[in-house]
Subunit: 191 residues, 4 copies
DNA sequence: GTATAAGCGAGACGGTACGTCATGTCTTGAG
DNA sequence: CTCAAGACATGACGTACCGTCTCGCTTATAC
């Protein structure tokens, strides 16, 4: 097939793979500490022990860098649930997602806030992060549900509830909330 | 003591009342056109024909100014529905809410983003606006549902879905979405 | 007429006159210490306790700033010689000129370099400074010499020798050099 | 002695002799077009179709490279004069030198200006270029003159006059100027 | 042959400075 | 005391080069 000619040997020194890890770690740490606005490319570069040009070589702007930094742990933290039934799978998925928010919550809240403020970041954040999370949840739900039409709104309700509480803080994102949401979703999706 | 002669004749030139209106108009217009980040105090001052010092005399920073400019959006505007059944009432309430977003959407989106960024504003915004909207929806739902325990999460799901789409823009906030959400909620709340 | 009300009261805060003095002092000091290339606008700003923007508001670039800072060096300071004979007058004139270079040398060297790099400054520097010095020397020489045709090249030789050593530093600009040049010039101009 | 084991067969691939020519051509061309400051090693490398490392392997810095590039044509362009008398030889030497400036003048002007700005470049430029030209002229003069003591200042006067006009542009560097300088120098050196 | 060693084009790397922009403060003169 | 104007110190922006460091390749001598 030779489809993957992408990895043809390029000339010049190859990119140092350690850079990405160092940058993402620095970026996540700063994001959690001081918030999106106060994260500067200079600070990320300094914290990661990296030149500014190296950041701009790999990410076009701060938004892309931070989304990349958060994307990694969100996708790798939530295990695929397998309880066998719809409600249980949803509960487990949401429970895992909420648990991850213990550490990633502040950073993600900043990113979603930024999405509300900046249209171009909005697109990138949805395409690279939020829509992927919706797809992951959709896949789980669709294992048990045939009526596809109802699934979309229910996914928006589930993730919506999560973000709503994450942004406003008027209620906890705990195991009980996961259970309540899962129960409501399961009933909503029942034939 | 009557020390608080607030309206006592203060020395010096009085504040020009036209300034606030001009500034708010300029600010909302810029916010709609270019987005929060690209709004600068300098641009607001120039657009309003006002000196920068005048802005800083009245608002401590850009966020506060824009919050002031947008707070008028966070006002009740949805008529009380009366279709007689749960699903119909929810659909009508959400439909009205979504319709109002046509004009108030950008302002509210900015306010919710600001709530995500600023904890003190978060509290104020939830207490003065968001929780009141939840209460209004709760009252409507509770006309038809006795099982109170399930209501809270469903309200978060409904408003959550709305905000989720408002912030990310990945799907429309239209009559059909109101209908789908109402149907799902009604099933979730059914005994 | 009064058209030239250049100094008409302009609105806004007036420029702080202390800035120019502080900047020039910092610039000349840095120029003397580290040389033109190593002088950075950032260092000048820091040393003068001034913001970078303030520098760029007043001077378009580093060269212009330093030219301003050094132009004070380009001022007449040599007393008119009166030894009665050609060789003595030349020697005394050059000796005085060389002595002044003790302090003004670095600044003048920079200015001449700048003249070599920037054609428009070249014209200005020649008209306002270098040609006047040549005229001064010419007047002294012409007191003793009638053959005008030979004078021009000799003046270029004398000032040329000075600048050549000032720029390259391959030989001293001292009393002995003044004497040697005067002797050579006197012979060259002899009938 | 075999001290000069320079040409000992060294292991590894030998240096490509075409590189130096390509680099010098590119460097001279850039120097003439945009001036010393605006010449960057990256641009030279790109223009010569050469890697940056190749430049740094052969020249320690930009200054050395550009001096090298200009040295070549200055030394090879001026033929050894042989008119038989002092004044004629000087005139012919200067005439040839001035003629070469038609093409090399702008580049050399940049280099001399840079020498005035940068002490470390100053040394290199004098050692590798200017002092060699003075030596060439000294040799010619010393064929006819025994009184060595007067020669040094006269050489500074001759080359000084040339650079003075090259930098300030207040007079032409033509055959007549060469003749006038030669005549003055010959008289100055006469017993 | 087959190491070994250096040169080569390319380009990523940690840095420094650039010149621009916006922040929030300050200082004018006018009202 | 407010207002419009604009200078001020500060600090991040994104770019351009610096001089160094890998890469994979080429081109020599040495074993």
């Amino acid at each position: 097939m030779a489809k993957e000619e992408t990895s043809a040997k390029k000339p010049g020194r190859p990119r140092d793979p350690a850079v990405e890890a160092a940058v993402f770690a620095a970026a996540r740490s700063l994001l959690g500490e001081v918030g999106y606005d106060a994260v500067s490319m200079e600070a990320v570069a300094a914290a990661a022990g990296v030149g500014k040009q190296t950041l701009y070589r790999r990410w076009p702007n701060k938004a892309a860098l931070l989304v990349g930094a958060c994307l990694v742990d969100a996708t790798e933290r939530v295990a695929d649930p397998a309880t066998g039934n719809l409600e249980g799978d949803i509960e487990q998925f949401l429970g895992g997602t909420f648990a991850a928010l213990e550490t990633t919550g502040p950073g993600l809240r900043f990113l979603m806030s930024q999405a509300g403020l900046d249209p171009s970041f909005r697109e990138r954040f949805d395409a690279d992060f939020a829509s992927r999370r919706r797809d992951a949840l959709r896949e789980i739900i669709c294992r048990h549900v045939k009526a596809r039409r109802q699934v979309g709104p229910v996914i928006d309700m589930l993730y919506g509830a999560m973000w709503y509480r994450l942004l406003l803080g008027h209620g906890p994102l705990d195991a009980r909330f996961a259970r309540d949401l899962a129960a409501a979703a399961a009933r909503a999706l029942a034939a």
